[in-house]
């Protein structure tokens, strides 16, 4: 079952980027084109979730939210540059389920889409499968914190997984040190430069256990990059 997301946003760049990103996760996404016949399109599409901007040509998002609510209980998430409490309250009063403020990141949008789909349609696993990051025979499961390579498995810590994921995603380019620190920085666990060094060392060790020698290369003054040594 493929879930459909209906994106009602008049900024073409944002809607395109959102569509591409949502589709990467195996969902289907449709961008509204005609802002006068939103309801017709909505009934044709029968989306499982609606992303709705507040400022739209003709009628605003609050209006469309009310119109959709007349006939449907589909989850509606607002995306807006307005972050005042009043706008958020207004959105919720008009029947929205959640409110995301611009500038937002993919992470936040995907997390919210997920949580709403899971709540309404129940089956989380079907919405988005378990994430697997594959690279040259390496398989990283960020949720399970498992790393597989040629039949062997290593168990990573959360920080090591974040580190490896960033390195894989940026390969073959160098990953900036500060970026890694930002990624590892937890809500209540503030990381120091040393923490990064320690985690890199430990990740190297775990790669070694999988017979990968010299997997992480240090680029002085810049950061780290993966080294395909097999």
């Amino acid at each position: 079952m493929k879930y459909t997301i209906y994106i009602i946003e008049d900024d073409l760049s944002i809607s395109r980027l959102l569509k591409e990103h949502i589709e990467k996760y195996g969902l289907s996404a449709t961008v509204a084109e005609n802002f006068e016949s939103i309801m017709e399109e909505f009934h044709l599409l029968k989306p499982h979730l609606v992303l709705l901007d507040v400022n739209l040509p003709k009628f605003d998002g609050f209006y469309w939210c009310r119109r959709i609510r007349e006939t449907s209980k589909v989850p509606i998430l607002f995306i807006s540059a307005r972050e005042s409490g009043i706008d958020q309250v207004r959105a919720l009063e008009n029947g929205a389920d959640d409110y995301i403020t611009k500038p937002f990141s993919y992470e936040v949008v995907m997390a919210k889409i997920n949580s709403h789909i899971r709540r309404v349609f129940g089956d989380y696993a079907h919405a988005i499968g378990e994430r697997v990051i594959e690279w040259e025979g390496l398989k990283l499961y960020p949720e399970r914190l498992d790393l597989e390579f040629q039949g062997k498995t290593a168990i990573l810590t959360k920080k090591e997984a974040i580190l490896l994921e960033s390195l894989i995603q940026t390969y073959p380019k160098v990953v900036n040190r500060n970026y890694l620190l930002e990624q590892m920085w937890d809500h209540s666990d503030f990381v120091e430069e040393n923490t990064l060094n320690v985690n890199v060392t430990r990740l190297r060790k775990k790669l070694q256990d999988l017979d990968i020698e010299n997997g992480v290369e240090t680029i002085r003054g810049m950061g780290y990059k993966l080294n395909k040594s097999w």
Partner: protein, 332 residues
């Protein structure tokens, strides 16, 4: 009364002068006795007194008005009675007030237009920033993309500042006082600024008891805390390694403190740091100051009924404290 007498002094003098002159003439010309003179004198005095009395009662409003200070501009347009002066002065003041009001309306309208423009403009800028940010995410971690995302972050901060500034006038319509726990709020604010901490090789310390609660508006107070954290980091560059955010209870208040170990504020500057556009010595050294951060922080705190204090020692660091009212706990 004294004003009234002062105004009519010359009338009284000229009146008695002419009465005296007339009676003197009569005295010389005819067989006026002293009693006749006295009678004429008293009779005329009586007439004068009645006239002045009537006039005073009639125009009393005007004299009270002339003798008073206004507390509000609206008071000047009150009716000043039906006397000659009362009538004319009321008309004049009313006209003045109308002109003044028209002027004020124009100024207010311009001000509102200006704020609306800033508001719209900030929101307009946020969409392109979102696009830039999303596109950068595709290159996350690459050194050049990282540098760019830091600049984008600065722009977001700047826009936010403009937005809060434009909004502070409409404060009454935009705040919700809730009972909240300080710890998550502080951790959130620290996380929000993690880029800045990492970039400046600094570490936050959060020293907050989990149970401390205050009454405040989350959105506004978060803006204030983030502002204080940003300042703390900015003025600790290369000097202090730690920024401490702590909260504790004293007898009278719940206190939230942001303490840095940075360059500190010169004593001659410290009284003015809450003034708008004031950047002082440190602003000159570091640049990139708008002088608005602490000003907004102070205004927001005033609006929320919190007190804010700043203490600093050059080269030792700065401590900003926000004092919240205690939450009344009911002991049943």
């Amino acid at each position: 009364m004294s004003l009234f007498l002062k105004e009519h002094k010359s009338y009284i003098v000229i009146y008695y002068f002419s009465v005296s002159l007339t009676t003197f003439y009569c005295f010389l010309a005819s067989d006026f006795t002293f009693l006749d003179v006295l009678y004429a004198f008293l009779f005329n005095s009586f007439i004068l007194l009645v006239f002045l009395g009537w006039k005073y009662v009639n125009t009393k409003n005007v004299y009270v008005l002339l003798d008073s200070n206004f507390d509000a501009i609206e008071e000047s347009s009150l009716d000043q009675g039906d006397s000659f002066w009362g009538h004319h002065i009321s008309a004049l003041l009313k006209q003045q007030y109308r002109l003044y009001e028209r002027n004020m309306q124009q100024i207010n309208k311009n001000h509102q237009e200006h704020l609306t423009f800033i508001n719209q403009w900030v929101h307009q800028m946020k969409t392109p920033l979102s696009v830039i940010r999303l596109q950068l995410e595709a290159h996350a971690g690459e050194p050049y993309a990282h540098g760019m995302s830091e600049e984008v972050y600065k722009m977001e901060k700047g826009l936010n500042m403009a937005l809060y500034y434009a909004r502070i006038d409409a404060f009454e319509r935009d705040f919700v006082i809730e009972r909240i726990r300080l710890k998550p709020l502080i951790l959130d604010s620290i996380s929000q600024e993690k880029k800045l901490f990492i970039k400046n090789h600094m570490l936050p310390k959060a020293d907050v008891d989990d149970t401390i609660e205050v009454y405040t508006d989350v959105k506004w107070i978060k803006f204030v805390i983030e502002q204080l954290i940003t300042n703390g980091i900015k003025y600790s560059k290369g000097k202090g390694k730690y920024l401490t955010v702590s909260a504790y209870k004293t007898e009278d208040h719940t206190v939230l403190e942001v303490v840095d170990e940075g360059i500190g504020i010169h004593p001659k500057d410290i009284r003015r740091v809450f003034h708008p556009f004031f950047t002082g010595e440190n602003g000159r050294i570091l640049g990139e100051s708008t002088g608005m951060g602490l000003y907004l922080a102070k205004k927001i705190c005033e609006n929320l009924n919190h007190k804010i204090y700043i203490q600093s020692e050059v080269n030792r660091g700065t401590k900003v404290s926000i004092l919240f009212e205690h939450i009344q706990t009911d002991h049943n």
